[in-house]
Chain length 341, copies 4
Amino acid sequence: MTHGPDDLGVAVIGTGKMGADHVRRIEETVSGARVTAVVDVDRGRAEAVASRIDGCAVHTDPAAAMASPDVDAVIVASPGPAHEGALMAAFAHDLPVLCEKPLTPDPAAALRVVEAECSLGRRRIQVGFMRRYDAEYARLKALPDTGRLGRPLLLHNRHRNVASPPGWTSAMLIEDSVSHEMDVTRWLLGHEITAVTVHTPTPSGDAPDGVRDPQFVVFETDGGAVVDVEIFVNCGFGYQVQAEVVCERGTARVGDGHALVTQTAGHWGGTIAQDYLERFADAYDREVQAWVDATRRGEVTGPSAWDGYAVAAVSAAGVRALTEGGRVPVELAERPALYGT
Amino acid sequence: MTHGPDDLGVAVIGTGKMGADHVRRIEETVSGARVTAVVDVDRGRAEAVASRIDGCAVHTDPAAAMASPDVDAVIVASPGPAHEGALMAAFAHDLPVLCEKPLTPDPAAALRVVEAECSLGRRRIQVGFMRRYDAEYARLKALPDTGRLGRPLLLHNRHRNVASPPGWTSAMLIEDSVSHEMDVTRWLLGHEITAVTVHTPTPSGDAPDGVRDPQFVVFETDGGAVVDVEIFVNCGFGYQVQAEVVCERGTARVGDGHALVTQTAGHWGGTIAQDYLERFADAYDREVQAWVDATRRGEVTGPSAWDGYAVAAVSAAGVRALTEGGRVPVELAERPALYGT
Amino acid sequence: MTHGPDDLGVAVIGTGKMGADHVRRIEETVSGARVTAVVDVDRGRAEAVASRIDGCAVHTDPAAAMASPDVDAVIVASPGPAHEGALMAAFAHDLPVLCEKPLTPDPAAALRVVEAECSLGRRRIQVGFMRRYDAEYARLKALPDTGRLGRPLLLHNRHRNVASPPGWTSAMLIEDSVSHEMDVTRWLLGHEITAVTVHTPTPSGDAPDGVRDPQFVVFETDGGAVVDVEIFVNCGFGYQVQAEVVCERGTARVGDGHALVTQTAGHWGGTIAQDYLERFADAYDREVQAWVDATRRGEVTGPSAWDGYAVAAVSAAGVRALTEGGRVPVELAERPALYGT
Amino acid sequence: MTHGPDDLGVAVIGTGKMGADHVRRIEETVSGARVTAVVDVDRGRAEAVASRIDGCAVHTDPAAAMASPDVDAVIVASPGPAHEGALMAAFAHDLPVLCEKPLTPDPAAALRVVEAECSLGRRRIQVGFMRRYDAEYARLKALPDTGRLGRPLLLHNRHRNVASPPGWTSAMLIEDSVSHEMDVTRWLLGHEITAVTVHTPTPSGDAPDGVRDPQFVVFETDGGAVVDVEIFVNCGFGYQVQAEVVCERGTARVGDGHALVTQTAGHWGGTIAQDYLERFADAYDREVQAWVDATRRGEVTGPSAWDGYAVAAVSAAGVRALTEGGRVPVELAERPALYGT
């Protein structure tokens, strides 16, 4: 699939699990962008990803990719320690960046990045804290702002993974996993975190040797809130993220199989959509994307004219049943071979 | 925003609520297509929609739009009685069509469309039964296929709207609303509907004068299933669609605020995601689309480098709390003006 | 366990599954009554039940039991065809009766019972439609009465059993199972049922040969409501009873794992208890009953003084942690042997 | 209502909210016991309670009540500081006691009680930790014992009240409220609590002046578990108690509107009852108790013989609809005046 000259040309740095997924996303799902370069220290891995895309360059050095006139913007999805260098190169080329978390693994490097961006005098970096874009978190964020529930006092979080990758350490539960809840705390409450306490139960028998899993982390904030996080990366049963904000006059939570559930004034519950364009927004998007994709492949899939005819015939019988009463049989024409059997 | 020469050029016929939404969808959300023409008998309405799109032609006659070399495919979103003409024109120009439901309002016209498509010898039409693309229905469809629950015996449906549009009649509850459940029945069960019975309670006091609302519709199918549909288009409280398949050894339902819930062998419940790319797939899509859109506007929004630094600083404190025990205060540098206050 | 002279002396007619359970209930759970006689055509079965109760007589003829001065009231739990005779005998002895459903299996006999009670000039019979005493149904009944939801229009019911007993017939699904929903319809809506339609899908492969299971039954009522009942007595996965009343401006349902859930004005949800005596009413009842039962057996069970001490010690540490900050260790005395290890 | 000579004669010490509720419970709900004495320093309050009970003595001194031959057992529901004296008196009279929590407010007094009971050489005291008798907690307790979920690692608790009584202090949140979770921790996990940390957010604006509400309490246990408790006694919206045990391979929780919900191996959900005696056990209990109570008052309430007849008539119509097909009207006899209109 090719793209137009005004599409945003994106270089993706790093073609591991996350980077490869971003390449796929831009090619198949995102409107208005294309991947014009991929970068990986493992050139073979980069080439495998690039081979599926027309006109996609391959580099092993981020700066080389950024020098190309085809690159308008950068996604950094390389390992954390490589981020600082890639970000400084992007600053040098004055390119906007979507940088996967962590910005950098250590605070000193992160502060250097901040200072460099301040020297530029304008923002170039968006950090990949993608929970802010999750529909459930977005509803949670929208709610306490209304003031109906009062000021937030406590924030309970659960964060569970089926199993940790090889080499995962006790510290990585904090740095790589709970870092999401650090961002959620700062974004959702609008507070800075002022102190941290970590409680560690006897590790699960399913945790790798020497890894303290699960952990129970407590934050204090400058807005006077207390935040707790259960992090459990070898829970075995699923990937699960839950959050409950406890406010002065009610709570709101997401992540337990429902959409947003609030509790206030003697009632618990959620909202009901008011319109089919709201309820089925994603279905319409998928329907039209599927039709565009099939049409570009020269195919027709999805519900057929025969399906449309069959429903028209049942509708006519239904209206007769409504107006005349009783049970009305449905008569269909013979199904043409074109529509299968 | 402009598009590439290989994008699919789409003519949208009808620029009412549904047609205008499809135009917006193709321009903002769908990858690989652009709107090259809009058609409406109300030329002013078509022009208002086209004015926001570079190089989008305006027509009052579908056939004129279809004659353009910029038009590769057609979306039909005009009123039902106009569908047959538009579809025949598309056949004449050999263009693929996504046709909003109903295919045509009456079975005889629908059968003429089917026969014309059969004369072409290949499928050109996809009908807009978009529930097949809804994530919940897709899971419901996937499940009974596994055979774990046995053969489907009953299918219970609820279909509720806040209020019906002006001019809605008793027959339109069947033709326009329950037609979705007719397609769901045929698609989900793979059965044809063989008979219809309609039960009508005393209408709600909130129904327009003379409109029988709600109705309770029962289908029989050639696969021996019984299907019931509550249709209630002036329920006042929300737009709601629910379905429960009752099989020989269990049930599965969607639409009551949870994702798919099954009941089998003494247990009720649902599944838990196994991976963050699965759980947060939509969030990643929205994140990258938002970043692309902002970048093309020359802006940077979303989580900032400062947010990345703050999380790195809290992470470092957290790791100290883990390794040294006790409560560890967090020290942040002063926040630069670039990142607001 | 013996009882006081003013306890109600109850004769239980029929000592099958239901009758034996009523005997156990009166002896162990109900306050103010005792079983003074049991009756069964199978004398051995009656004797086995009576042998566990002080001073409980055994009869094979209901009338003989009713003649005893120790019998103040009667529970009829014999097979349906035997009910008419037992009820007429109770009338003859002017005894109040709790009669398991059905009152009688056929309407003519039921009408004779009604006429005989009318001749007495006062009510003697309560029929065992126990769903009226279920906490969930009671909340469902309470709600529509408030008028907030408007007039009831539809009532959806599900009624599922794991497997039917041997000899269960297609007609028994109506007479023995759906009869509960007949009572629920009449009690909940306050309407009489005016017509019945039965839809039968192809039977489940797990239904006994020749039994039409499941069935889908539709009632019309003199209040203009339409009521549907799914009855499925070989569903395999559980015993399940659900009901949803659809009113003009909202719905209320019970039986899907939650307590009462309502939908109205854009929201779905339930209520939250306001008091611990409300939330834990059943726990207090069970606690005190358990203590009384153990005490009468000369035993002490349940939480011990040691448990009380341990909690007092933790409380004291907790108050120190609150007032002084930080982590406060808990010191317990050595646990005496009296309280186990 | 009078009772038999073998009923347990109970003295209730303290006739405040809790004591009066126990008196009502024993008289109306519990089988095999009666209240033979009430004790309160406020004699008038005790007399008001006793006046509704035949043969119930009134005392202001617990020991005087215990000296009566009519007193077989004691419930202590007086204020906490009075417990030690009442318990020692009960030991002196060798009477079994159900003692409301706290056993005593301070650990030293509690230890004296323990030592006194050990001197007796046998248990006399049950402490009123009634959550052990709650159906939901009982299911939670039953579950982890099975070993399917593995060893418990974390226990999350929520404990919320609408509003605290006048005079409630920050320490009472620990001593009076969280003491329930101390018992739940010890009973559910079978661990002793070894350390306590208390985190206090800025108090809610709805908390009384100077009261730190909510609080977030963390326990460590000798079994290596970490337990957290949100205590919030002025949350405004309801009385709510929730608990989630996080084990090595799954979690189980109660208190969020469902019955027990487990998460394990990719699934969340609960169990479905297998039998109507299980599902409707409480309804049967209430039905028979209501019938006994009405009968003893000389009344007949509940479903009538007319209700039984009406259902028999609808059943007969239903069976005809099943066997003959179509819609069958229901014909009822005229309703006799005895059954109202």
